[in-house]
Symmetry: C2
């Protein structure tokens, strides 16, 4: 089973940047990522624009996305969001809920049970509509309010998710390799396609990606340039950088189908738009051997 | 065999910083690292002060080092440097030469054969003097001039090194985990205590550290805060950060004997002295669960 990379930069990345880009810039980012060969791109979030101005105009972004091999997705946290995704004709929906009560309450104002029920309601509608549904379990390794999360609890929740694919998110970047390998193994053992969404907040992100693959992960999230951050750790960095991950995977002999030079150029473009260096290191140091 | 950490921040780190600190500050850094429980600290380099002003006053640093459990070392690249180390009464000498002709010529103005001979000459004197000698093979994975380095060549060189301990250095931060695991395995297979000196230039450093341990490494170099850089890649970051590595190792269940809070405090102090954020991420994000 070939590894699938999903670039979440346009959504999870840009949502956590201070600057709110207009839809035309976010669509351009999506186009560049698709052009670089990313098989999946999380393009938008269908949330309230007054709450998340960085994601305003999701429909405009969706309307400007190119046809081609890349599959674009949107995040929906409730049925209203899902309705918007259907209207925008996106082929894949991402849903998320937290593995801990404290995080789900503070982040979504609901219980974990309600979060799971909402996720499954959207999965059911997506199945009927012929839309791919992927459910992400947030704070699957550690929670800023509850500390380390019991893997048995995460497995219990993952088993109740009706989607064929479950992504385990290290939302605040605290996981270490053994923990990631172990939890991915357990969830993959449920027979679900299992993904990992890793943040490099404490420099464990890339080692965790290797561990996730060893545990049987079929999907890895990453964001070009390491775009994004973490609202719960203001000085913290965001997702692992897609191009740095691709460099590592190439060294491991794992094909990704991604054009590394095109990705590096996309990070350089994004750094220019943001007016600051991104967290990714490869685009600064250069690939090796140079192409 | 317990893992040994060597903090190379005072030498490999500060040598590659633009600011040259006086001996009193560098000795203070060494004291803090020893106080944090690091078993080894690379404190100084006995090189020409007109060429490397960051390392000026090595004797003053050495004279100010505390007694205690930490073993302090100095880098010597020739017998004159070794004489200075003996006079300064340091118990451990580090010697280095490159695995490629181009790097050794540009960096040391000699051939690899001459570099190896010089290393062995110092190892022989150290043995007679009761001083620990550790030989580092620079650019053991990739060279900025020659590209990827043939592991068989590195093993051939390591086999000719008379020291009991050989450290494989990813000087320019290009290695990937499979490569590191493989080369460490081969060199450890020679019966030598094997270390890895990893830079995080392309975000592979921490995954490489895990791979080095899997390959049988008994020693890992790191620098507090990720101090340092790479003269061959001006936009590049330096060594893996000791505290980030310790955080990861704790998650792996590998004891280090290091006090993480004391290390984090040392990075905060160093960032203040340098007037810029360091590359390490843990000291910014905080440990987890918080202590």
């Amino acid at each position: 089973m070939a590894l699938i990379l999903c670039d979440v930069g346009p959504r999870d990345g840009l949502q956590n940047e201070a600057v709110a880009f207009p839809p035309v810039v976010r669509a351009e980012l999506c186009r560049r990522l698709a052009g670089a060969g990313l098989p999946r791109v999380e393009a938008v979030s269908f949330v309230r624009e007054d709450r998340v101005p960085q994601m305003a105009g999701a429909e405009e972004v969706a309307a400007a996305l190119p046809d081609g091999a890349a599959r674009f997705s949107g995040l929906a946290l409730n049925e209203r969001g899902y309705d918007r995704l259907v209207a925008a004709a996106l082929p894949e929906v991402h849903v998320a809920f937290a593995a801990t009560e404290s995080f789900q309450q503070r982040n979504a104002g609901s219980s974990v049970e309600d979060g799971l029920a909402m996720a499954n309601a959207i999965v059911a509608r997506a199945r009927a509509d012929g839309i791919e549904a992927i459910v992400t379990l947030s704070v699957a390794f550690g929670c800023p309010f509850e500390g380390r999360v019991d893997p048995e609890r995460v497995v219990e929740l993952a088993a109740q998710v009706d989607a064929d694919e479950v992504v385990l998110a290290d939302t605040i970047g605290v996981a270490t390799p053994r923990q990631v390998r172990g939890l991915v193994e357990l969830v993959a053992g449920l027979g679900k396609r299992t993904g990992a969404h890793l943040h490099n907040t404490r420099n464990t992100g890339y080692a965790n990606a290797v561990a996730a693959l060893e545990g049987g992960a079929a999907v890895l999230d990453a964001s070009v340039g390491g775009l994004g951050g973490c609202p719960f750790a203001p000085r913290a960095t965001g997702n692992i950088a897609t191009e740095d991950l691709v460099y590592l995977l190439e060294g491991e002999g794992i094909p990704t189908g991604v054009d590394l030079d095109a990705l590096i150029a996309t990070s350089e473009w994004m750094a220019g738009r943001l007016g600051r260096p991104l967290e990714g290191l490869l685009y600064r140091a250069g690939r090796f051997p140079s192409s």
